[in-house]
């Protein structure tokens, strides 16, 4: 039980001459070690979030032929510190007619919801995560749903029309895209047969494959919905500055604003981390176990590095998209969610399930307790069908569903070349 919860301190720590026989093992396992993990995780994630803002500004600057922040510290590396300091010492403004208590609580709810989800993410092998609960994935979903509450309350309590519109938009958006995210992940769950995130990584390590190869469509849906779920461009309608000034946090300033900001970036990290865990093999990298002995401290540290690298790649995709495409309109966003992504995710589940059963009947997949065993032909079958059958059939189906939609027929409705007259 202890091992399963990943609570116990690693052996090299509990056996180390400083701690050995001086501290009650239970105190170490249940109290000191998790506390250390939590403190380290919070410090690392907060720093990461701070530097993500800098990274985002730098990436956007490179895309836009600018230099980006380069004044504070070498290469602008101290910019997050300066920003944080500025936000801390700024006047904390509460609008006169705002609901003061709710106004104060809202950003805290958002932030707490974002941080709690960090607890179940498998940052690394063995002691590289805090707790590996059975319902890990469901836990993340339920907690991140609470984050929406913070946004609604913040928008409502501000007593401003822009905030209210922003809050309404974001709640509608997050609720609809949560469906798409959940459905997209089910395809991956069929192969891992578990909801515990660490076990999902182990299942992928056992299969020697990243789920993305079996589920390319699901990954695509997950990525798009994930961007929408975190209110990022091109789905940043809740804070569309050209329409709603700043959306639900229009009236927030100073430290309260920064809480919302940290929560938003933490959510981006979580979405990337879950995507990496479910689709990109988590900390699993083929060949890693040959370099370091599995279970050793070096192995765990290198697995954390692998996980971080994959997460950063996904984060870069987030930045890249944000600065390349215009913003969707509210109705188009809903249409994309309900008419494209959710049907596609449902079709993906159905087709994957059918193919899975066929493979089982053919003996290509053998269920072995909690794990799957796939033959070589099985790999070829599953990968091939994912690309040859699932994607085209889903695409045709989407075309049928959206046959009459305006956006689907944009090119037909409008000849592109200009009618030029002398």
């Amino acid at each position: 039980m202890l091992n399963y919860l990943a609570l116990s301190a690693p052996k090299w720590l509990s056996d180390s001459p400083i701690l050995h026989n001086r501290i009650d093992p239970d105190v170490l396992d249940y109290f000191l070690w998790p506390l250390t993990q939590i403190v380290v995780l919070l410090v690392v994630v907060l720093t990461l979030v701070a530097y993500l803002t800098l990274a985002e500004r730098k990436v956007s600057a490179w895309i836009q032929a600018r230099l980006g922040p380069n004044r504070v510290g070498p290469l602008g590396l101290l910019q997050p510190l300066a920003d944080g300091l500025k936000l801390l010492i700024k006047e904390d403004l509460i609008p006169l007619n705002a609901d003061k208590i709710v106004f104060a609580i809202a950003p805290i709810i958002s932030l707490v919801a974002a941080f709690v989800a960090l607890a179940v993410i498998p940052w690394g092998a063995a002691w590289g995560m805090i707790s590996n609960i059975d319902i890990g994935l469901l836990f993340i979903f339920s907690v991140s749903s609470v984050g929406v509450l913070g946004i609604i309350l913040g928008g409502w309590a501000s007593n401003s029309k822009y905030s209210l519109l922003g809050a309404l938009r974001s709640s509608a958006q997050m609720v609809s895209y949560e469906v798409a995210i959940g459905l997209a992940l089910i395809g991956g769950l069929m192969f891992t047969k578990t909801l515990a995130l660490q076990d999902m990584v182990l299942a992928q390590a056992r299969l020697h494959i990243w789920i993305i190869v079996f589920q390319p469509l699901a990954f695509l849906i997950y990525l798009i919905s994930g961007i929408a779920e975190t209110n990022r461009a091109p789905f940043d309608l809740p804070e569309a500055e050209s329409e709603l000034v700043a959306g639900f946090h229009t009236e927030y300033s100073g430290f309260r604003f920064s809480l919302f900001f940290i929560a938003e970036y933490t959510n981006i990290v979580i979405v990337s981390a879950v995507g990496v865990t479910v689709f990109l093999g988590g900390w699993y990298l083929p060949g890693l176990s040959y370099i370091f002995e599995p279970g050793s401290a070096l192995f765990v540290l290198s697995s954390i590095a692998v996980f971080a690298a994959k997460t950063l790649v996904l984060l870069y995709v987030f930045f890249w998209l944000r600065w390349s495409v215009p913003r969707y309109r509210y109705d188009q966003l809903m249409e994309l969610g309900w008419k494209w992504l959710i049907p596609a995710a449902l079709a993906n589940i159905l087709l994957t399930a059918i193919l899975f059963v066929i493979a089982q009947q053919l003996g290509l997949i053998v269920s072995n307790g909690n794990f799957l065993e796939i033959t070589k032909l099985g790999y070829v079958f599953l990968i091939g069908t994912a690309f040859i059958i699932t994607i085209p059939i889903t695409w045709i189906m989407l075309g049928q569903i959206n046959q009459r939609s305006r956006d689907f027929n944009l090119y037909e409705a409008k000849p592109l070349p200009m009618n030029r007259k002398k």
Binding site: S60, I63, Q64, A65, R66, K161, Y162, L165, A233, P234, D236, L237, A240, E241, S242, E243, V245, W323, S324, V325, P326, R327, Y328, R329, Y330, D331, Q332, R406, D407, L410, Y411, A413, K414, L416, M418, N419, R420, K421, K422
Partner: protein, 376 residues
């Protein structure tokens, strides 16, 4: 015109919300205030409130001599200062019957077309920014910077460009002007193609602009739309062709005309206009005749004969006109500016009703308004 919406005592209606957009708002391009009636996110009515930037330019002009008035025009449409200056000096030249030297005419055309480019680039930048394409915003500003550098060398100013005088130009082009403009003209088409790659083939851009803010040709004429906004509705009306001034009749260029009169067509028309402006610039550079830049017989004290005069030019935003009533003195009795932005803004209500709130932002962007010109 719409009835004024009373925002002090709104009727209590659970389905409608009155939203005050501006005058301090990121997407109103200055200090425009739009009062919107929203049903959910759908616009049921809107009213524009202007005048936050009123400086009384027309009244000031009544108390200035004719040469002193010219700089005030740079500050009406501050994004296209040279076009405004041109309109004023041409009105006076027309009233005086002055024939200005060819070199000055060609230089004026080059500078005015460069102004059109810089104005359209600013429009593209802000329009793209409104719809969320932030990167195009900065790319367009980068290219505009190159034009502003040429302006800085020529006029000594980047924004309030002023070198046109009654009777010609105050000075000839500096050494290297031609080379600088030619280098720019050589590179600019590739930048333009870059913007189009970012937008033309982008599904989100298309779905945000196609079919949004449609206005028919007849409705556009009724409202008094001019410039690219009118041409996008399929009406071929360009003062450079209809009533050629300066040396436009000697230059070869096309007038792009749209079909549907939606936001996307207005975008396409302006993009094509930039190409045509570049064509004009290259031709005019090749044809630069040399010689004096100031008409010989311009008196020191300018007195316009008694009468009423109207002259208009094709400014980047549409027909810019100056109406002048003279009592024969050194100062105008009345001077009125016909700003294209003011009349183009009138179409906003008709274009927006029934669309979503986000579309209003896109439509304002596609109308290309400047509040300095509207409020004067």
């Amino acid at each position: 015109m719409s009835e004024t919406i009373d925002i002090t005592r709104p009727e209590i209606d659970a389905n409608e919300m009155i939203l005050n957009m501006g005058p301090q708002h990121p997407a109103t391009h200055g200090v425009l205030r739009v009062v919107l009636k929203l049903d959910g996110e759908i616009v049921t009515d809107l009213d524009c409130d202007i005048g936050y930037l009123h400086r009384g330019v027309e009244k000031i002009c009544e108390h200035r001599t004719y040469p002193m008035i010219a700089p005030y025009f740079d500050r009406t449409d501050y994004i296209a200062a040279a076009s405004n200056g041109l309109c004023y000096v041409e009105t006076i030249e027309k009233a005086l019957g002055l024939e200005i030297p060819l070199q000055a005419q060609y230089l004026r055309v080059i500078l005015v077309e460069l102004t059109r480019l810089s104005s359209h680039l600013l429009w593209l930048a802000t329009h793209a920014l409104d719809i969320g394409a932030v990167t195009v915003f900065l790319w367009a500003f980068k290219e505009r910077e190159e034009i502003l550098k040429i302006f800085e060398n020529f006029f000594g100013a980047r924004l309030t460009c002023h070198a046109f005088r009654i009777g010609g130009m105050s000075y000839d082009a500096y050494d290297g002007f031609e080379a600088e403009v030619k280098t720019f003209a050589k590179r600019f088409p590739s930048s333009l193609a870059e913007y189009e790659t970012m937008l033309n083939s982008n599904r989100i851009w298309l779905s945000r602009t196609v079919g949004v803010g449609i206005i028919s040709g007849e409705a556009a004429i009724d409202i008094g739309l001019t410039g690219p906004a009118l041409r996008a509705s399929g009406i071929e009306w360009d003062i450079r062709k209809a009533h050629p001034y300066e040396c436009y009749s000697e230059l070869d260029f096309d007038i792009p005309v749209g079909e549907n009169g939606d936001t996307y067509d207005r975008y396409l028309v302006r993009m094509e206009e930039m190409r045509q402006a570049l064509r004009i610039i290259v031709q005019a550079l090749d044809k630069l005749p040399g010689g004096p830049v100031m008409a010989a017989k311009v008196s020191k004290v300018i007195k316009v004969p008694v009468g009423e005069y109207y002259h208009s030019v094709e400014a980047p935003k549409g027909e810019l006109g100056v109406y002048l009533a003279s009592d024969g003195g050194t100062q105008p009795a009345r001077l009125r500016i016909r700003p294209p932005s003011l009349l183009n803004l009138q179409a906003l209500r008709q274009m927006s009703i029934g669309h979503l709130y986000a579309d209003v932002v896109a439509i304002i962007g596609s109308l290309d308004i400047v509040l300095g010109e509207i409020d004067r």
